[in-house]
Symmetry: C2
Subunit: 364 residues, 2 copies
Amino acid sequence: MTSYKLLLLPGDGIGPEVMAEVEKVVAWLGNAGLATFETEIDLVGGAAIDVHGKPLADATLAKADAADAILLGAVGGPKWNGVAYDIRPEAGLLRLRKELGLFANLRPAICYPALAEASALKPELVEGLDMMIVRELTGGVYFGEPKEITTLPDGSKRAVDTQVYTTAEIERIAHVAFDLARKRLGRVASAEKNNVMKTGVLWKEVVTRVHQEHYADVELEHVLADNCAMQLVRRPKQFDVLVTDNLFGDVLSDVAAMLTGSLGMLPSASLGAIDAKGTRKALYEPVHGSAPDIAGKGFANPIAMIGSLAMCLRYSFGLGVAADRVEAAITRTLASGARTRDIASEGTKVISTAEMGDAIVREL
Amino acid sequence: MTSYKLLLLPGDGIGPEVMAEVEKVVAWLGNAGLATFETEIDLVGGAAIDVHGKPLADATLAKADAADAILLGAVGGPKWNGVAYDIRPEAGLLRLRKELGLFANLRPAICYPALAEASALKPELVEGLDMMIVRELTGGVYFGEPKEITTLPDGSKRAVDTQVYTTAEIERIAHVAFDLARKRLGRVASAEKNNVMKTGVLWKEVVTRVHQEHYADVELEHVLADNCAMQLVRRPKQFDVLVTDNLFGDVLSDVAAMLTGSLGMLPSASLGAIDAKGTRKALYEPVHGSAPDIAGKGFANPIAMIGSLAMCLRYSFGLGVAADRVEAAITRTLASGARTRDIASEGTKVISTAEMGDAIVREL
Ligand SMILES: CC(C)[C@H](C(=O)O)[C@@H](O)C(=O)O
Ligand SMILES: CC(C)[C@H](C(=O)O)[C@@H](O)C(=O)O
């Protein structure tokens, strides 16, 4: 049986806590003979700054490059907020995405029936919501040059960020979105601001062409990013796959995640291109952040992290059966009424991070 | 009595319909001796493209420059979607903002009690919502250079947009936000992405300094734009004044507007700097767009447009009494049960755009 090399990067805040629960699931899968993993663990983000003076050591990057897949907890926290731009915890995550070429960020926004009432939206608007945001992750304003602050002769400053997109970058993310739509409801919405941005003009043009040339069976709709944000709030179930650039994707995927009422539940995958051997680099992480305010208290919900492992089993290793098993265990655990603090309604019994992890392992 | 020069730019789609209702209110104010206006009307957007071949004729810009204030309906529509970037209807609006130096866009998001149930959010989350978004409107990625699409040797393309912010641009918008907060609940939230963008780093730095030097009595909080979008959905009432850049402001203000459940109700003001004579350029327009799908049907809600006139009376002419009068008439009209289609709940009697305008005039 193949043994998969898994690099675990717990990171900061609640990262290590939720990672500990995923390790229980990994161990169970190995013992059950469903999948064998060689796991290695390393530092990223603030935890790496504390030890190495930078958020992603070169040795860690080398391990990430050699791994079959990476599971990441979360990075960042107020402790490192004062530090310089390039050595902030987030810089480690951005470098990892860029160096490994993880251009396709998949963020499912699913409203679990048992949790619909936790949404800020009226339940009927979100019940059954199951959309997939496909966010471009290695281009746009995140990485474009120049990106600098200069001091003017009078002592005042001028800051510049640059958003760049090329035909090739847009083509490959469009393919990811259309391919996913084919396995889902067959609908893609593409969001940009072509009325204001040249990158939006090119984005719309390329997505339109890729659609015409290869995916006539899929339905394509173009939507302006500001209107898209509105529509997400107004009638989220109109969306199946939503593809957008790095910066709009950052904001829109957070809106979509919040709609589900269960931020602690949502996994994500960041995928690279498929190489000659048919493999691709991949990093899996929860949508939620490092939540420093609740770190160390056992409040964190490990489901997003464990769900990220399920995505990893499916997308990186083709282990659909094992992935289904993990997801079914999560569903059964929730159905049994197990609730961490973030998803508990008033009066419900609340269990800890570790208890939730144990409950899921019992249901496996 | 001073006579104010008012330029009316109805624009496209439902623009002319809602502008017709504001003209009734303007006429009433004149007859009642509350304010005298010289009004002039001109083309902008698609309507101007059809006549002049461009969305903002130089003569129109000159009139706008000479006016004491501008009321604008809305621009854009599918008819002009195929045309080149610089002659799209939106280009006229952007040029108007830029040439007149309308750097401060004020967008109140108010949830009218009678309409709370029209929100996608649970009523208790939005009832009583009264926040003000202050969006920087003449800088950032909307106007930065380079902004271009180039063709590469292999025939593929590369698009670039540039986001620029200077100390001076951030300072003046920060002052607007803090000054407004002083007259409200005394709280400002400033949204950027300083963890990814250099303009965000400078934004945070300058807002922090302006706060320390001039507004120690106001409470300031920094929030990342993605988290801000989430918080708007999760717990909108936490915000009083929210200040942000042009692009984030575009998206976040649309989210906030949608929360109120009454997009057809929300006015906005775009203000320039105060000059030596104590006056400032100003344009007032509804938050909603041109809604081409319902144009010409009498479905449009004129309240956002009439509310924009009220903002104009208050901010441009210091006519607080007249402004109060218009706003009170709107409130009474709503309380009497008058509803256009967008704000009607099931089973309510629906009235037309003109009927709503007449009802408001009767309540004046
Ligand atoms: C931590 C931060 C750099 C990151 C981003 O902006 O991409 C985060 O918000 C995300 O969405 O993964
Ligand atoms: C019409 C468009 C150019 C404009 C913008 O992006 O600013 C609109 O969305 C707005 O918010 O006023």
